[in-house]
């Protein structure tokens, strides 16, 4: 039985993985939005995510809340340290959210164009900034003896985190394209299908470079991963899942392609977690100041109470999330309630 700290490391990881998988396709659809040709096609894209994007963003809000509650020192240090980056992320998420809501409310061309750009720009910027943040967490940031961030904003924009930012955009674009294949029909469906291979290739190229960079320049992750014997199992699963996507798309098994993409993302997040454990925020260059699941955690009592809350709440959340996706299954049909 793992200790409470480890359980909460896994649970926070599950919440952020849920966010990546669910809002990942929303942000990916946003990245692809400007490639749609007509107003109607853009409306189909928006309504493909329309009923669910808001619930998907809640995974981020709850993940952040869980991080605050379970590991307050990490939350405090990371959020104050990444101040400007997170403010930009907030602005990007705000514009993404209101663009979806506002776009359909007026018919003028300039109005719709403006919100198209806000939606696409907000989505790409959000995906990129999330990737950059994860890149910094993996690479390590300068921390001082108090556990406070000792770097600068520009110091966060090193090549390695930027590379993970680009990789994340590519990954979400791939995931979004596969989601759209499920939700579209006719000519648009065929066209969106043809976007899948380029996005997969772009993602794989980015990810290979990123992995090489990790092996070469981030020894603490490599060392941590080598200690975990089942790490190779996860890698094999991730490769199989990604390889299955083009196969499923070719056969027209759109849902299976989407599930494969979800599985691949879960594997990638699991690898990230294995590489980090038991650290939450690496200190670089002084590793002794790193924040871990033990020195940054709330008391055992709080972790226990929260586990009760999570065990009560999560099954209910999963049950109705699944039923809501079930209600809105199938191809997008535009009607007067649509965006």
């Amino acid at each position: 039985m793992p200790d409470l700290n480890t359980i909460w490391f896994i649970l926070v990881g599950v919440l952020f993985t849920g966010y990546a998988i669910l809002d990942g396709f929303d942000l990916g659809v946003g990245a692809l939005h400007l490639f749609a040709r007509s107003d109607e096609e853009r409306r189909v894209f928006l309504n493909a995510i329309g009923p669910v994007w808001d619930g998907n963003e809640v995974w981020l809000v709850t993940g952040g809340g869980a991080l605050f509650a379970a590991f307050p020192r990490v939350y405090a240090t990371a959020f104050s340290g990444f101040y400007l980056a997170f403010m930009l992320l907030l602005v990007a998420l705000i514009f993404r959210a209101v663009a979806i809501e506002f776009r359909s409310k007026q018919p003028m061309r300039w109005w719709r164009r403006m919100w198209d750009v806000a939606f696409a720009g907000g989505s790409v910027a959000s995906a990129f900034l999330i990737g950059v943040t994860m890149g910094n967490i993996a690479w390590g940031v300068p921390l001082d003896a108090r556990g406070e961030f000792a770097g600068t904003f520009l110091g966060l924009l090193r090549p390695y985190p930027l590379l993970l930012g680009v990789t994340t955009v590519a990954l979400f674009a791939m995931h979004g394209a596969i989601y759209l294949v499920m939700k579209t029909e006719g000519e648009l469906h065929d066209r969106v299908r043809r976007w899948i291979n380029p996005t997969i290739i772009a993602f794989i190229l980015c990810y290979v470079v990123f992995t090489l960079a990790t092996l070469l320049y981030v020894p603490h992750i490599t060392a941590a991963i080598k200690q975990e014997p089942w790490f190779f199992g996860v890698v094999v699963l991730a490769v199989l899942a990604i390889a299955n996507i083009p196969r499923a798309v070719t056969h027209g098994w759109d849902f299976q392609a989407f599930l494969s993409s979800c599985a691949a993302m879960a594997c990638l997040m699991a690898l990230f977690g294995l590489g980090m454990y038991p650290h939450l925020l690496f200190s670089h260059p002084q590793p002794e100041y790193s924040l871990t699941i033990y020195n940054a955690a709330s008391s055992q009592k709080t972790l226990g109470i929260m586990l009760t809350i999570a065990l009560l709440g999560l099954p209910i959340v999963l049950a109705y999330t699944v039923s809501i996706y079930w209600i809105f299954r199938g191809k997008v049909k535009l009607d007067r309630m649509s965006y």
């Binding site: 329309g50 509650a69 990444f82 907030l90 409310k105 709440g313 959340v317």
Partner: protein, 456 residues
């Protein structure tokens, strides 16, 4: 460091005040939607279907604004108030985690069915979804008010560590949840939210009556708004009174600031109006009712009420600001009771829709709860100063150690620009929806909501 403190406070105050326009509307409209859709299911009168459909659209707009501006708040605890976050994380965290798990998922999940599910699910399932959205909105108010109340009247914790490493750790979860002020403040906050929703419904209805448009829809909206609003406004008197008693007991400096009371005294008067001269510590242009404050708090005019001079100047909140916002809230609340009470009287007499001047007042009444909610919140939060956690941690000690003034100024300017744009768009779109009005097509419900064909 002072600049960082002021800028961070200003940014938090600005972003939360802006956020706080929308959730009360969502909570209040959520209640209205449950009532309207329940009436539709019960009576099968298509007018209620039309009402529910129209207010759902307005609800969607306020909800989207609430979500977009709400995530900012969660980030700001960490970005601007890192030391505070480390201090309260252990206590505060459980409430926030519960809010995410029980409230946000519930409301945003079922929102999909509420907005887009009219033709996809049966009427009862849709009604269930509407109830869940309203319930989720109320849950989110519960947890955030509990967390905020813990800052006002901490309970169920102990302090571990010293100096920079000190933090509050939970000892009793339920004592934290039911801390002395949480339940009163929760009901009072929810009441403010219901009033915001009720007056919006009444206001738009009154506007249509004045313009002679959508009359059956408009009259039903005015009546719903007045009935719901009057009930809640009276409830606010009771909850507000009880809340003030709790403040007197647990945060005496705040209560003294509410009333501009400097000297501890028996037969303390209740101030109706006035201007507090903080420099000379006196109270000018005051209109007071002798002895009433002592009586309201203790039920006995001979009992003493603590004044501000009992506290070191460093432990006092800004007095005049708290006094004025607190009294603005009470004035607006009293005005709303009078206005809605008058409406109920006219309704009983059957002349509600004959008085144009009255309907114009109802149109303006939508601003009342917004002003009262904001003013009340400001007096509660500024009245807590100089503490961020009352009696335990000072606001100045809760800041992020690594964030500099220029950085906060940058984000403050950014938020000001973005929010100004959002607010303009919100008003524009709300106005547009109101001018467009309810869809007559909604009077003949379709799909699974369709009425059974009449027998010949």
């Amino acid at each position: 460091m002072d600049d960082v403190l002021w800028l961070s406070r200003l940014q938090f105050a600005f972003t939360i005040a802006f956020h706080y326009i929308y959730p009360p509307l969502s909570i209040g409209l959520g209640v209205a939607l449950v009532i309207l859709e329940g009436l539709w299911l019960k009576t099968r009168n298509p007018l209620y279907h039309q009402l529910a459909r129209f207010w759902t659209k307005v609800f969607a707009l306020t909800f989207a604004m609430g979500v977009a501006t709400g995530i900012v708040m969660e980030f700001e605890f960490g970005t601007n108030w890192a030391t505070y976050s480390r201090y309260v994380g252990d206590v505060f965290g459980s409430a926030l985690a519960a809010e995410g798990i029980f409230a946000f998922f519930l409301e945003s999940g079922f929102l999909a069915v509420l907005l887009f599910g009219w033709d996809r699910v049966g009427p009862k399932t849709h009604f269930f979804a509407t109830c869940m959205v309203a319930l989720g909105a109320h849950f989110s108010a519960i947890w955030i008010v509990v967390a905020n109340s813990w800052q006002q009247t901490p309970a169920g914790y102990h302090i571990v560590g010293e100096g920079l490493h000190a933090r509050a750790e939970i000892t009793d979860f339920w004592a934290m949840v039911f801390n002395p002020s949480s339940m009163d403040r929760l009901i009072h906050t929810l009441g403010g939210a219901w009033l915001a929703g009720a007056t919006l419904v009444a206001s738009v209805g009154a506007y249509y009556v004045l313009r002679n448009r959508h009359l059956p829809f408009a009259r039903a909206s005015v009546k719903l708004g007045i009935a719901l609003g009057l009930g809640v406004a009276l409830l606010q008197l009771a909850t507000g009174h009880h809340s003030a008693q709790i403040v007197a007991q647990h945060q005496p400096a705040k209560l003294a600031a509410f009333e501009g009371l400097y000297d501890t005294r028996t037969h303390a008067p209740l101030a109706l109006l006035g201007w507090v001269d903080e420099k000379n510590e006196n109270f000018r242009f005051n209109v007071e009712i002798p002895g009433l404050l002592s009586w309201l708090i203790h039920g006995d005019v001979a009992k003493p009420v603590t004044g501000l001079r009992d506290f070191k100047p460093a432990d006092r909140p800004p007095v005049n600001f708290v006094f004025q916002t607190y009294h603005a809230m009470i004035a607006v609340g009293t005005g709303l009771i009078a206005l809605l009470g008058l409406g109920a009287f006219y309704w009983w007499r059957g002349t509600l829709f004959d008085r144009r001047w009255y309907l114009w007042l109802v149109v303006l009444a939508v601003l009342g709860p917004q002003i009262a909610n904001q003013a009340g919140w400001w007096s509660a939060e500024v009245g807590r100063q100089p503490w961020i956690v009352y009696g335990l941690l000072r606001t100045a000690d809760g800041l992020s150690a690594v964030v500099r003034a220029e950085t906060v100024l940058t984000s403050l300017v950014l938020f000001t620009l973005v929010y100004a744009l959002l607010f303009a768009l919100f008003v524009y779109l709300l106005n547009d929806k109101i001018h467009h009005g309810p869809d007559d097509a909604d009077l003949t419900p379709t799909g699974k909501h369709a009425l059974p064909a009449r027998q010949p």
